[in-house]
């Protein structure tokens, strides 16, 4: 198990919700954390992370803006000395359907694909050369959605788990008919997951994704006009539980899984389950070498 204390991480979209929980969980492990977000609460988070006894830095900005990404990555490296972990979390949601007009669609594209897909590309492409140059491995974790995995990827289910709502009939992918751009952006993350994982094997850098189902977060509460029922809240996963799964994933270190979409869907225990067999890549192509 890898000791995380003293490592340096970037968490995007950390002001609220899952990103906030991720940043706090990493800080509690002794990891120095750089955070960014569109929202100005990111500055308050920096103070709270510092109170946990680690170094923290924060920037307010848009992950789809290359200049912002460059600033966060360059200044994090300058402040911390290295970048060991990237949590590509920043994401937005908006309804979009097949017969929206072009004006709305192009605005949606810039916002949803810009944040959820381009933002992760930019942070990945900015951090990867840094990690390669450092020569000490690294961890990239993209935050995706359970819309792009079924009960495991792509289609095993686990009838032995009594609490699993999909035990009898495997769950299809997709988020419905009003999320075409959101789902496209999240599906697109597979392009980074597999290409980066393969390219970075020689450098001991792992790339994985957490595919989140309904988690109590700012984004999910916004779906419910910030007035969800007690029953709804009780059914949602807790961001803190998922953050613990992120920590457990990072603790696997170079000997751990690589190029995997890790599914967290409602009704199942929120914990890091064993790695699954590879489906979309040949397993040997994403296996980190001895001593990586």
């Amino acid at each position: 198990m890898t000791d995380l204390k003293g490592k340096n991480a970037i968490v995007t979209g950390a002001a609220v919700g899952l990103g906030n929980a991720y940043a706090r969980a990493l800080a509690q492990e002794g990891i120095n954390v750089a955070v960014c977000d569109l929202r100005d609460e990111v500055h308050q988070l920096v103070a709270e992370l510092t109170d946990l006894g680690v170094k923290a830095q924060g920037w307010q900005g848009d992950v789809s803006d290359p200049a912002h990404v460059r600033q966060v990555v360059d200044e994090t490296r300058a402040a911390f000395g290295s970048i060991d972990i990237l949590v590509n979390n920043a994401g937005v949601w908006g309804a979009s359907v097949a017969d929206d007009d072009l004006d709305k669609s192009l605005e949606d594209y810039e916002r949803i694909v810009g944040t959820n897909l381009k933002g992760e590309y930019l942070f990945g492409r900015a951090v990867i050369p840094v990690m390669i140059e450092q020569g000490a491995g690294g961890e990239i974790v993209n935050i995706a959605t359970d819309h792009m995995v079924t009960c495991g990827t792509p289609y095993f289910c686990c009838p032995s788990l009594e609490s699993c709502p999909w035990g009898d009939s495997p769950r299809p992918t997709g988020g419905g008919d009003a999320m075409d751009l959101y789902d496209a952006a999240k599906w697109g993350l597979n392009g980074f997951l597999y290409a980066w994982a393969k390219a970075l094997v020689p450098h001991g850098i792992r790339v994985n994704a957490l595919c989140m189902g309904a988690t109590d977060s700012y984004m999910l509460r916004s779906f419910h006009n910030f007035d969800p029922s007690e029953e709804e809240i009780a059914s949602w996963m807790k961001a803190e539980d998922n953050a613990q799964a992120l920590v457990d994933l990072l603790k696997e270190g170079p000997a751990g899984r690589n190029a995997q979409n890790i599914n967290f869907c409602m009704g199942r225990p929120v914990l890091l389950e064993p790695a699954h067999d590879h489906v979309y890549v040949v397993a040997d192509h994403v296996k980190l070498g001895e001593g990586a």
């Binding site: 097949a98 017969d99 990945g124 979309y280």
Partner: protein, 252 residues
């Protein structure tokens, strides 16, 4: 089937797969509006060939207006695609340029063209085919999801979101939406990857032919199936296989 008065739009139709799709649809009696950034599209037999860029909004609106004048738009083949190697350490400015070059055509172009077409297709139903890649289906060979194609792979994986959501949303309008996800097809794009345009020995005997994929496209449309990624692999017969259960229709 009488396709007189019905219009099919094919993007990226100057050569290769797009050309084969356009020619086949013309043979089937469709009024075909074929477009491409390459002028060779203007010489396409049996089709109206127009030079236009799917990544440019004005061009997309011009193409769809022209198609609507030709008749009732029933078929849209989202075929235009950009491909290039994009090594992860290629440098920052290169990474930014690669993103725009690939995404503007492969994702934003598909979005714009489809959004512009759907209102015309709704009254009478139709077919949208998103041309993808075998990368998005379970691996059957070493070459899938290679390490130096991150934006290209992202653009094609992203089409899953469109195919799935559009199939659901447009079901009531009788508009069928499917992905065609193929391995190596003998096209100028493929031959351009090899010295002197010569296919390597392991491909030369079993590479798929554009005409085979055009037949598969016709079979998909005739089947009435929707919301699926249809696979075609080198070394296997190019055919419409049995419909998989719901949970495997996109993921294979």
């Amino acid at each position: 089937m009488n396709n007189a008065g019905k219009v099919a739009i094919v993007s990226g139709a100057a050569q290769g797969l797009g050309r084969a799709f356009a020619e086949r649809l013309a043979e089937e009696g469709y009024q075909v509006l074929a477009f491409d950034v390459q002028a060779a599209v203007e010489g396409l037999g049996g089709a109206t060939g127009v030079v236009a860029d799917v990544s440019k909004r004005d061009d997309v609106e011009r193409i769809v207006a022209l198609a609507a004048e030709m008749g009732t738009i029933e078929v849209l083949v989202n075929n235009a695609g950009a491909w290039k190697k994009t090594p992860v350490d290629s440098g920052w400015e290169q990474a930014l340029a690669d993103w725009d070059e690939i995404m503007d055509t492969n994702l934003k172009g598909v979005l714009m063209l489809s959004r512009a077409v759907v209102p015309h297709m709704k009254p009478a139903g139709g077919h949208i085919l998103n041309i993808s890649t075998y990368y998005v289906l379970p691996a059957k060979s070493d070459g899938t999801n290679p390490p130096d194609t991150d934006p290209y792979g992202a653009s094609k994986w992203a089409l899953n979101g469109f195919t799935d959501a559009w199939a659901k949303y447009l079901e009531a309008e009788n508009i069928k939406v499917n992905g065609l996800c193929m391995g190596a097809v003998d096209t100028p794009m493929l031959r351009g990857l090899f010295a002197d345009g010569q296919l390597p020995s392991d491909l030369v005997d079993n590479v798929m032919l554009p005409s085979e994929l055009a037949q598969l496209m016709m079979d998909v449309m005739a089947s009435g199936r929707t919301g699926e990624n249809i696979g075609a692999w080198v070394g296997e017969p190019v055919q419409l296989n049995e419909q998989p259960p719901l949970h495997k229709r996109i993921t294979g």
